[in-house]
């Protein structure tokens, strides 16, 4: 009989993760712990950061192999998360999340003041700044495009584009995108104060006109037709965003709208978060690249903010002082955080200033803006 208790303990040790774990994996587990801390204690976009962090934890425990893909015809199933990851790989989850976001979004303020769209365009500036610098740093065009899109300040869009162009960068880009979105109240105010004068910040804006139900119903249809005609590659994102919004505004499919913004988006968010996190294996994540992505991401966010603010100043000037440039920074998207930052800064300059509704216009325009930017990059750099 060749079994003995000591032998078996040794075997168990050898079969266990303890004998395989590397310092890199330990470091990754530590990073996932930090992300969990940020999500729970600091409230950094916990709906995505918490699943991402946990996926990162799971994937760096050796031998668990949750992301091993099924070998077709082998008869042996793959890892649990490899199946759930298919929705990321095929670009399904981000589109479904966009449907839910569409069902939650009121485009009223944008329709009431359509010039908000300019700010939503200008605040994509950082995407291209980061793209150009990333290219200069020898990232491939696909990688550079994916890094740039962090400046879109829109999680699902960033994940969608990166999954298609450079999926090895997925966890770094997703984490950077969601972290910086959570950090908007720290990133934007200094730039806002730097680039605007006190007088500009004090500007009170006229109340927005009421938007009729008809306009709200036509909006998603018109946006879909125009955007997809102009840039067919945005169809999955803009199409689903606007389908969700049509559910909302039509008023006749309450139950579909409710499911799109609750059960469905939540299920998809869990699957997307955990599996995106699970792509962050130590060997691909612990590289200089990742640090560069984090740096470039901050740059992208900052330049997007700058783009929005400068265009805001232009509109202030063109409108003869009727537009408060502070609403420009909300054009980065990061709904509704960036709009709230505009509100707070506006009130600091002038306590009777209520910019929230005015900032919601550029804010939701920024979602469309970054989806369009992603569509362009996909059209140019996709296979």
């Amino acid at each position: 009989m060749q079994y003995s208790f000591i032998d078996t303990l040794v075997k168990i040790w050898e079969m266990s993760g303890f004998s395989y774990i590397s310092w890199q994996q330990l470091l990754m587990i530590g990073i996932s712990g930090v992300l969990i801390y940020l999500a729970i204690v600091k409230g950094f976009e916990p709906l995505l950061l918490l699943p991402i962090a946990f996926g990162m934890l799971l994937t760096n425990l050796p031998l668990a192999d949750l992301m091993v893909e099924e070998v077709p015809g082998s008869g042996q199933p793959g890892g649990l998360l490899s199946y759930l990851y298919l929705g990321v790989k095929k670009g399904i989850y981000p589109s479904l999340i966009f449907m839910g976001i569409g069902a939650m979004t009121d485009f009223g303020p944008l329709i009431a003041r359509p010039t908000s769209l300019f700010l939503g365009a200008a605040a994509q500036f950082g995407i291209y700044v980061a793209f150009t610098i990333a290219r200069a740093l020898n990232f491939t065009p696909q990688e550079a495009a994916s890094i740039g899109i962090i400046g879109g300040a829109d999680g699902p869009t960033a994940i969608y584009l990166t999954a298609k162009l450079a999926d090895h960068l997925l966890p770094a880009i997703a984490i950077a995108a969601y972290s910086y979105m959570a950090l908007i109240p720290m990133i934007q105010p200094p730039l806002m104060r730097l680039l605007t004068t006190k007088k500009e910040r004090e500007t009170k804006m006229e109340q927005l006109r009421e938007v009729s139900k008809l306009e709200k119903i036509l909006f998603p249809i018109v946006v879909t037709i125009l955007c997809v005609l102009l840039l067919p590659s945005v169809a999955p994102l803009i199409g689903m965003l606007m389908l969700g919004n049509l559910f909302r505004e039509s008023g006749v499919v309450e139950r579909l709208s409710d499911t799109a913004q609750n059960a469905l988006i939540n299920i998809v968010t869990i699957f997307l978060g955990v599996t995106v996190g699970a792509t962050a294996k130590a060997e691909t994540f612990l590289r200089l690249e990742t640090l560069m992505i984090i740096g470039l991401g901050l740059l992208a966010f900052s330049f997007s903010t700058v783009g929005g603010l400068l265009f805001g100043k232009l509109m202030y000037w063109l409108s003869g002082g009727k537009v408060n440039p502070l609403i420009g920074s909300a054009g980065v998207s990061a709904v509704p955080m960036a709009a709230r930052v505009s509100q707070v800064e506006g009130q600091k300059a002038n306590p009777s200033n209520f910019l929230l509704m005015h900032a919601m216009g550029p804010n939701v325009a920024g979602v469309i803006g970054s989806a369009v930017a992603a569509g362009f990059l996909l059209a140019v750099f996709g296979q």
């Binding site: 939650m104 979004t105 009121d106 009223g108 944008l110 329709i111 359509p114 010039t115 769209l117 300019f118 939503g120 365009a121 200008a122 994509q124 500036f125 995407i127 291209y128 700044v129 793209f131 150009t132 290219r135 200069a136 065009p141 550079a144 009421e210 009729s212 008809l214 306009e215 036509l218 909006f219 018109v222 946006v223 125009l226 955007c227 102009l230 840039l231 509704p336 325009a365 469309i368 803006g369 369009v372 930017a373 362009f376 990059l377 140019v380």
Partner: protein, 105 residues
């Protein structure tokens, strides 16, 4: 692809975002103009009503958390209401923010 080409792509990329969003802007303006022209006649009569309901509508907007204000309702009734809402919505009272409770008489 050289750096200057990257730069050009960037310029064109930003231009396209502007082109698409400007097109959208123009279209929405046009549409609002048309719809506005149609609605002009109907608008005069029910103006008052819409003003009144404006404050109500704001509450419904977007992802607002359950918030109420307190007018013309004794505190006991308000407390009962808050307890019910808390119970029914399975939210601990400490997490609910009531902005106003108003009697509708």
């Amino acid at each position: 692809m050289t750096i200057s080409e990257s730069l050009l792509i960037s310029v064109f990329g930003l231009a396209i975002v502007f082109v698409v969003l400007i097109a959208l802007c123009l279209f929405i303006m046009l549409q609002s103009r048309i719809i506005g022209a149609f609605r002009l006649k109907k608008k005069e009569a029910p103006q008052k009503k819409t003003e009144q309901s404006a404050s109500v509508e704001k509450k419904d907007a977007a992802i607002s958390a359950g918030q109420l204000k307190l007018f013309d309702v004794d505190e006991k009734t308000a407390a009962i209401i808050m307890a019910i809402v808390s119970h029914v919505s399975k939210t601990p009272l400490s997490e609910l923010q009531f902005k106003s409770i108003k009697a509708l008489d």
